[in-house]
């Protein structure tokens, strides 16, 4: 369909997502709501990566690090709240209006520090150094024995407490995730269409020329990196609440790879694509084994990735902008 159908498509998609919990409950599969919440959360993370990867041309291979920071802020403060112990002389808390912004803020700070270092390199070095720093954070959280080390940390106090909103209700939590996804999506769309967004895309296309036009390129890249880190941090905050459990797995390098695959699978540099990519990736991950189980193909049920991998490769090879490119064609034959 033509690209001008993207907006109606998004509106219909939103209507469907708003109705989804009720549909799921009506069909007696209320647990689907939780599955889709997870998709919404990863869509936020994938959009945030797309902002720097698709628009800024920064191939960050450590994006799960910021997801992890956001999630651990929630889990650690929840731990101290449950435990009654203090952290840096302050009590723990489950109060969402405090811990959620704090999780996002600390992710942004982590992105600021790591980005300031990583962005001094480019190309393959940038990929490697973002990966290296993410691994460093991974082992940092593994080493935190008090917070479960590599076993992870359960949030015994439950999800964060939000005034007037009962987050422990799965349907309510779903709508909170959906609201954040819509908000973050619209924010990123505004950003890529703004002066800042044009600079970011200029840097992707021709960084040298941008400097020659008088743009301090590094500052703009760093700003985008921090926004992306904050977005991933938001996803981490929600993810910790979703599972009520956080472990270093959340910032393993494979998780960074998963998020990157969601972006590429859905369509790089499109913002809409990463949502499709997150949905497709997580659905396949969840249901491919089930499908092979139903087809009584035990070998493929256990080794579903053997099918999953080639599927991803085929989509990446034959659809230039992933699923987005398959759905929407360009209006005028250019490009």
């Amino acid at each position: 369909m033509p690209k001008s159908y993207e907006k109606p498509f998004l509106v219909i998609g939103l209507v469907f997502l708003m109705a989804f919990p009720y549909l799921a409950e009506a069909m007696g599969n209320a647990y689907f709501t939780s599955t889709v919440s997870r998709i919404l959360i990863f869509a936020i993370a994938a959009i945030s990566l797309d902002l720097i990867l698709g628009y800024g041309g920064m191939v960050s291979f450590g994006h799960a690090a910021y997801l992890g920071v956001g999630a651990y802020v929630i889990a650690i403060l929840s731990f101290h709240f449950y435990d009654g112990s203090a952290l840096f002389g302050l009590p723990g808390t489950e109060f969402a209006p405090i811990v959620w912004p704090l999780g996002v803020l600390l992710s942004a700070v982590a992105a600021l520090i790591l980005g300031a270092l990583c962005l001094r390199t480019s190309g393959i070095y940038f990929i490697m150094i973002t990966l290296a720093f993410a691994q460093m954070l991974f082992f940092f959280f593994v080493s935190l024995q008090r917070y479960g080390g590599d076993d992870g940390l359960f949030m015994f106090a439950g999800r964060s407490h939000m005034p007037f909103i009962d987050l422990d209700n799965d349907r309510t939590f779903y709508f909170v995730c959906l609201a954040f996804l819509v908000g973050f999506f619209l924010l990123c769309r505004a950003i890529v269409a703004s002066r800042f967004g044009r600079v970011l895309q200029g840097i992707r296309q021709n960084e040298r020329r941008m400097a020659m036009l008088g743009y301090p390129v590094y500052r703009y890249k760093l700003a985008a990196f921090v926004i992306a880190g904050a977005g991933a941090g938001l996803a981490g905050v929600l993810l910790a609440n979703h599972t009520r459990f956080v472990s270093p797995d959340i910032l393993a390098w494979t998780k960074s790879g998963d998020i990157m695959i969601m972006v590429i699978l859905g369509g790089i540099g499109t913002l809409t694509g990463p949502i499709l990519g997150a949905a497709t990736f997580l659905m396949l991950e969840e249901y491919l084994p089930v499908i092979f189980g139903d087809l009584s193909m035990p070998l493929l049920k256990d080794h579903w990735r053997i099918v999953f991998g080639p599927m991803l490769i085929l989509i990446v090879l034959f659809a230039r902008r992933g699923l987005y490119g398959l759905l929407f064609r360009k209006e005028n034959g250019d490009d």
């Binding site: 950003i191 703004s194 040298r208 020659m212 008088g214 490009d335």
Partner: protein, 252 residues
């Protein structure tokens, strides 16, 4: 030449290994002139431009712009002082339209770009400036085409428009007519000559007709050294120049 030079290059040297690309070069460009820089391939013309624009750090020597030492100034600060370059090998933003290319350049002059919300596509001030500049290089009818789809000559003119919209005080033009047909070349010569009252230019060009049509002064560069500077007619008759450069052309 009684005026204070706008650009003053003093004893500039840059070596790549044993190759002296710029060899104790001194050169000045006065306000208002079109100063052409000619010389055989490998004479170090582009290397000089790269040092003036800040992409290559000289080994020694100084670059003064409007009296200020800019030898170590950061690349992105120079255009804001009025020192703007164009590229020999077209350097544009291929995915953007012609208008967007120029608007992005204009945006650089319009304060910082940490503006995250207002849609830039509907920014009238930027679009109008960009459209005017595109028209001045004869690309008004190409405004909405993606830059990668433009012809080579059109891309060269887009490149020029992106430099012009920055309102340079000194424009460093690295072979603006490279690869153009004769008609397009003549057009660009016209564009540049209409600008001569408002912009000072340092022009690298191989097209001798263009050089002699435009330049107020010519400097001849050979092996990184300026072997002669003077009025075009004097340069044409200078025996050292004829031997080193023009003669070589004629023999070829």
């Amino acid at each position: 030449m009684t005026e204070r030079p706008l650009l003053d290059v003093i004893g500039l040297s840059k070596a790549f290994g044993a190759l002296k690309a710029t060899d104790d070069l001194s050169l000045d460009v006065v306000e208002g002139e079109i100063h052409a820089l000619i010389g055989p391939n490998g004479a170090g013309k582009t290397t000089l431009i790269n040092q003036l624009s800040g992409e290559i750090a000289p080994d020694s020597g100084r670059i003064l712009f409007d009296g200020e030492d800019i030898t170590a100034m950061r690349i992105h600060e120079r255009p804001h002082r009025g020192l703007v370059r164009s590229f020999q090998i077209t350097s544009i933003f291929p995915d953007f339209t012609a208008l967007e290319n120029v608007a992005l350049s204009a945006q650089s002059r319009a304060g910082h770009s940490f503006r995250f919300f207002a849609p830039v596509a509907r920014d009238r001030a930027l679009n109008e400036t960009a459209a005017e500049t595109l028209a001045s290089v004869g690309l008004a009818d190409q405004a909405t085409r993606p830059a990668h789809a433009l012809s080579h000559g059109q891309q060269r003119r887009l490149e020029l428009a992106m430099a012009l919209v920055l309102k340079p005080r000194l424009l460093l033009l690295d072979e603006p007519m490279a690869g153009m047909g004769p008609e397009e070349s003549a057009f660009v010569v016209d564009v540049l000559s209409t600008l001569r009252d408002s912009v000072t230019m340092l022009l690298i060009e191989h097209d001798m007709d263009a050089v002699f049509a435009l330049a107020d002064r010519v400097t001849v560069l050979v092996y990184g050294r300026a072997i002669a500077t003077g009025k075009p007619e004097d340069i044409r008759s200078d025996p050292a120049v004829r031997e080193a450069y023009l003669g070589e052309e004629e023999a070829a």
